[in-house]
């Protein structure tokens, strides 16, 4: 009987505000959950800062006081430190909640909830992203600003655009992580998929070097052919103001495209998975 009640729940939603309130509650719980991992946050932040210093010096040596690939020294510094900060916000690495639940069979409780699993996980991830923005992004950028002469945006419009771009980046990165995790529905051992993700995500997102360092054709291929640059390079380029406003708005447009595509793919994959899913045990 319990099963019937659980599935019937979907129809008891009476108006539009109810699911919204539910999503809001899940987002808040995502925020609170990560707020309890205080030591882990501190440890990650320390690592980000350490690598921030290393990348800073390498890229400063590349710029050599001039301009490289259209970026000035201070702009490259902003690139490095926002990159280290955003790494924890979009959470490129280290998310296996879904895969763990698929493997243990706990996923079945997610399927019984009156909310689509993709929406459920996305809402929690946005909460996590909000927490990371406060405790990972701002301290990292602050550290960069304390030690180096970083570039600060000149136009006021850049800040809301950046906020929008970060939000889209979290959604796109979440979509990719969800797909990587969802491979656990089919594969018992998803380490191979994970390795591929580790390798590709760092290179294509603009974490290791700005995508513009690549030849134009390769950069274009990455921007339009993969979601990679939309994770990190897009919000960073929006903030750095290397390009005129229309180009930056265009970058956000590319992000919107990838966000819609990734969420749609998540839905499709989830539906396919549910059709073949066999929950083990009783």
């Amino acid at each position: 009987m319990g099963l019937v009640t659980a599935t019937a729940d979907r129809s008891t939603i009476r108006n539009f505000t109810e699911p919204l309130a539910l999503i809001g509650a899940i987002t808040a719980s995502g925020f609170r959950r990560f707020a309890t991992y205080r030591q882990a946050t501190f440890a990650s932040l320390t690592t980000n800062i350490m690598f921030g210093f290393l990348r800073t010096y390498v890229l400063l040596a590349v710029a050599g006081g001039g301009v490289v690939a259209g970026y000035s020294g201070p702009q490259l510094l902003t690139y490095v430190w926002t990159g280290q900060g955003l790494l924890g916000v979009v959470m490129l690495w280290g998310w296996s909640d879904l895969a763990d639940r698929i493997r243990s069979g706990d996923i079945v409780t997610d399927l019984l909830r009156p909310i689509h699993p993709v929406v459920n996980y996305l809402a929690a991830d946005l909460g996590r992203g909000g927490y990371a923005m406060i405790f990972r992004f701002f301290p990292a950028v602050l550290c960069g600003a304390l030690f180096f002469d970083i570039y600060l945006p000149a136009e006021a419009i850049t800040y809301p655009l950046f906020a929008l771009s970060v939000l889209l980046a979290i959604v796109i990165c979440f979509g990719c992580r969800y797909l990587v995790n969802a491979s656990a529905y089919w594969l018992l051992d998803m380490r191979g998929v994970n390795m591929l993700w580790l390798f590709m995500s760092g290179l294509m997102s603009g974490l290791y070097f700005p995508i513009r360092f690549l030849p134009d054709w390769a950069a274009a291929l990455l921007w339009f052919g993969t979601p990679g640059p939309s994770f990190l390079q897009a919000p960073m380029d929006v903030l750095i103001e290397r390009d005129p406003l229309p180009v930056r708005v265009g970058m956000i447009g590319v992000q919107v495209f990838w966000a819609v595509l990734m969420l749609w793919l998540c839905r499709v994959v989830q539906r396919r998975a549910e059709r073949r899913l066999v929950i083990q045990g009783g």
């Binding site: 440890a43 350490m50 690598f51 380490r191 390798f199 290179l203 360092f213 690549l214």
Partner: protein
């Protein structure tokens, strides 16, 4: 006894054949991202802080080789934080064998062999392309430097992992110094400046892993004005690091308090 433990690990891992080969290929490919980054950066500049691409790749290869050997030998010590949290460490401590040696045998990462092959290939090609003028002493240095560098990183792995004894949820903080150090040595230290270079290159000794031995192999004068014999100091520096690491480890084990769960 230890050989038996390691052998059992090897057999265990090899029995999941596909998984093992995927892991081996994967760990090798993932480190490839670092090399790609160096190549991309040099596509923008011909000379980075006084070093050409060929010269930098020699340093990169030396650093990676040292790190990979250390990672194979003691890299899994970073799992100590899991052992402390889960209480596995208590089981280990009541056995009549060395704590450190047992921990290292608990999970031997045979997949990391791939990285050594990979870094050896990178270093070999880099030395060949850089046109090193070989002398007997340079051949000796080529053998000594990666071994000393490996000992150096082993010391760092062990020393930084002890933080888990005091700080259970230390997470990746121990890695930031070891992995950060690997990235630091992958580039010539002329890239860095100020207090950051002083602390990492000389204070912690990372300059002696790849930079100074690399200069000797390349027959290049130090842009910072250091004498050439600095390249031969790496075994001494490594010995000091290993001794210090052993001291910190013993201190940590003696002060270990179980989580009690």
């Amino acid at each position: 006894m230890y050989a038996k433990l390691i052998g059992a690990q090897g057999r265990g891992q090899a029995s999941y054949r596909v998984s093992f080969w995927l892991d081996l290929a994967g760990t090798t490919v993932v480190v490839g991202a670092d090399l790609i980054s160096v190549l991309v950066i040099f596509s923008r500049v011909p000379v980075l802080a006084g070093f050409t691409l060929k010269e930098t790749i020699v340093l990169f290869g030396l650093a990676l080789m040292s790190f990979s050997v250390a990672d194979l030998l003691v890299g899994n010590i970073e799992r100590i934080r899991t052992y402390v949290r889960l209480g596995t460490l208590d089981t280990v401590m009541i056995r009549p064998l060395g704590v450190l040696a047992q921990l290292l045998c608990l999970d031997v990462g045979f997949r990391r062999v791939g990285r050594i092959l990979y870094s050896g290939t990178v270093l070999g090609i880099a030395l060949w392309v850089a046109g090193v003028q070989w002398t007997p002493s340079k051949v000796v240095l080529l053998v000594v430097a990666p071994l000393a560098g490996a000992a150096f990183f082993c010391g760092f792995f062990v020393a930084t992992s002890t933080v888990a004894f005091w700080w259970i949820e230390s997470g990746e903080i121990a890695n930031s110094l070891t992995y950060g150090g690997r990235d630091f040595t992958s580039y010539p230290i002329t890239v860095y400046s100020g207090w950051f270079r002083k602390i990492f290159a000389f204070g912690l000794g990372f300059a002696f892993v790849a930079y100074y031995p690399g200069l000797v192999l390349l027959g290049k004068a130090d842009p910072l004005g250091g004498p050439p014999w600095l390249g031969w100091l790496s075994p001494l520096v490594s010995a000091a690091v290993v001794a210090l690491a052993a001291f910190i480890w013993r201190f940590g084990v003696r002060h270990y308090r179980s989580t009690g769960s």
